[in-house]
Amino acid sequence: MTAPLLRLDDLRASVSDGHGERKQVLHGVNLTVAAGEMHVLMGPNGSGKSSLAALLAGREGCEADGGAAQMDGEDILALAPEERAARGLFLAFQYPVEIAGLSLTVFLREIYNRRREREGEAALDPMSFMRVLREEMAALSMDPALTRRAVNAGFSGGEKKRLEVLQMALLRPRLALMDETDSGLDVDALRIVSDAINRHRDGGRGFLLITHYSRLLAGLDPAPDYIHIFDGGRIVRSGGADLARRLEEHGYGALSEVA
């Protein structure tokens, strides 16, 4: 039997509160994402959604206190962030960082060629890579002039989020964690991002989307396979696409009881 793409069993975690104490943020998360599936986590502010994404990607300071997280049957919590990325885990950041001085083109070529080499393909020379980059940027309606800047330097909120999606397109991850990628996007940008996600869905990839709103979901085709309501550091209710609609109507309070 093939192991699921992602499996979380009673996963618990804590973060530093900045004063030497630790605060528990995940209180037993159980979730299974099979290849080809799209799962959506929705929940109120502070419920632990982003902490879950950070823990899975390997952010320092967010530590598992118990339970397990496996990708293709392998314990990913024991791996360095780059090792998780090498296995196909990708996190689209809620707040992408600016890296002054690091050319966006150089950065993208670096991660793109590293991915190619991991997959046994030859690295692309700068000219060939630029052709690939221009195509991918055009698909996201990104201004080519951005390539002359440093990573996220002077980018608008929407440009930063599109850059995250661009990186996803270049890295072709097997499991994409998208942390509020829809926040800060105008209506047109939201459609562009939805379209990009749709293009990258196939039977071999899984998605775990974190969002507050159902507006992103409206543009996803096919619709997400599962909607989960996340509250108090765990999944409290799961359902199909109609759960998001009911959430819009009734709010988190009415639906946050453990199913």
Partner: protein, 473 residues
């Protein structure tokens, strides 16, 4: 002859002289932050391995595909010394007259017997002359006569190492360099020199002391791209001491790239002095790895209206290294501009010091100055001390300064690693990105790109422990 004997003796005893003399404190509080006193007892130019070698693969050579080049190996001119002049003078006429061949024509003899020999390089863009002597200024035989525009080594006995060091605002090393330079260089530039001129200070031998003196004069509206590299071909531990002066006359343009890749045990001191006349513009990039001890003194006089000085300095300090910059920019006239931007990436147990002072004199109306020094500490044991100063004696000016010292941004490192970049490479990229902030965003010409590539190559060394001969890392 007595004078020669005296100089030779001084060369050999220079380290001891430096230790014993009272270091001056008139300039930038002198050596207050300096690690010199601490470093001197273990001077790296004490014997290490005694090896010597040839310049086989200098690390910083071939900065540009074509350029004229002057090479000094262990303080001595390398090149064709078999010319036919019999007058005891040395003339180097750089052929930069637009024919694109980038060749120099070296003439001269080497039999003068004096310990010092002046080298005059005259570059012009006027073509026509075939004798190569048309623009040589004055004599070069050290007798003090002739009509040189700038005397790089006065034979006036009043200007000796000790008197200059003690009477002037200079620290002792520039005077020492001028006094002991075996082959002082003088470059006079006329017109626009399109081919970059390279001056390479190469060290091949451990346990040596090399003193360099360079005096460059750009005449009215002249333009020059110049690259000065200082490198140890065989990881040679040595003392390298240089004094460089750039005098830009009205409307002159200078682009200067200084690259230093000295051995971990190198003891490096240098002073660079710029004087800019009206509407002259100097742009300098300084990229260095420091050494066992390194102190760079940069002094700039914006002497007349419209003069502009831009400098970007990057220190990539590998573990255990030390690097120090003392900057002083004087706005001596109105409508002058200086932009001074420095970055230092500091490895484990490395130390970085920065002292910067902007001075604006009374009457320097509409002067503008910016000074910024930021340090990136790549280890808890790394140290950086920065001290910016503004001395403003006029009201209608615009001045700013800023200093920051911080560890590597954990969020940036995580972001890079989450994209599949291993920690060591993420740190290298972080350092490189940080140091590249010295370059103006809009600059992407060959000169700047070449400088950027050097930053890339140095960036990876900041977190790498070096293997020093005789030690295990």
């Amino acid at each position: 002859m007595a004078r020669i004997t005296e100089l030779l003796s001084l060369s050999e005893s220079a380290p001891r002289e430096a230790r014993e003399m009272v270091l001056p404190s008139a300039s930038l509080e002198g050596w207050r932050w300096s690690g010199l006193r601490r470093a001197l007892p273990a001077t790296p130019f004490a014997a290490t391995d005694g090896s010597t070698g040839t310049v086989t693969a200098p690390k910083l050579s071939n900065v540009f595909s074509s350029m004229t080049e002057t090479v000094l190996v262990d303080g001595h001119l390398a090149g064709d010394n078999n010319g036919g002049d019999v007058d005891g003078r040395r003339h180097i006429n750089s052929d930069s007259d637009g024919d694109g061949n980038g060749r120099r024509h070296i003439k001269g003899d080497n039999n003068g017997g004096a310990v010092r020999r002046h080298i005059n390089t005259v570059m012009d863009n006027n073509g026509g002359d075939v004798d190569g002597h048309r623009h040589v200024k004055g004599d070069s035989d050290g007798d003090g006569g002739g009509s040189r525009h700038i005397n790089i080594l006065r034979d006036d006995k009043s200007e000796t190492f000790e008197t200059v060091a003690r009477n002037g605002e200079e620290t002792p090393f520039p005077a020492l360099a001028r006094t002991l330079a075996t082959h002082p260089l003088q470059i006079t530039v006329k017109g626009e020199i399109k081919t970059p001129h390279s001056i390479r200070l190469v060290g091949t031998s451990a346990n040596t002391a090399a003193h360099h003196s360079l005096n460059t004069e750009l005449e009215k509206n002249a333009s020059l791209h110049c690259v000065i590299t200082s490198e140890a071909a065989n990881n040679a531990a040595r003392l390298v001491n240089s004094d460089c002066r750039f005098h830009l006359r009205e409307g002159a343009r200078l682009r200067l790239l200084i690259l230093e890749n000295e051995a971990a045990q190198c003891f490096r001191t240098s002073r660079i002095h710029f004087t800019l006349a009206a509407n002259a513009r100097a742009e300098t990039f300084l990229i260095t790895r420091g050494g066992a001890f390194q102190r760079l003194e940069i002094e700039t006089d914006l002497a007349d209206n419209g003069a502009e000085f831009h400098i970007g300095g990057a220190h990539a300090l590998s573990p255990e290294r030390q690097g120090e910059i003392a900057l002083r920019v004087r706005h001596l006239a109105g409508d002058t501009l200086s932009r001074n931007r420095f970055r230092a990436a500091v490895g484990a147990n490395a130390t970085h010091n920065f002292q910067g002072r902007i001075e604006i004199i009374p009457g320097a109306d509409n002067a503008a100055a910016e000074m910024e020094s930021k340090s990136l500490l790549m280890d808890e044991s790394a140290k950086s001390r920065s001290k910016p100063e503004l001395e403003i004696f006029h009201d209608n000016v615009a001045c700013s300064h800023g200093v920051a010292v911080s560890p590597a941004d954990a969020d940036v490192l995580f972001y890079l690693r989450s994209r599949g970049i291993p920690l060591a490479d993420a740190e290298r990229l972080t350092v490189s990105a940080f140091l590249r902030q010295i370059f103006p965003a809009e600059h992407n010409d060959e000169f700047t790109e070449s400088a950027k590539s050097r930053v890339e190559s140095f960036a990876g060394m900041v977190t790498e422990t070096e293997t020093v001969k005789g030690q295990s890392s």
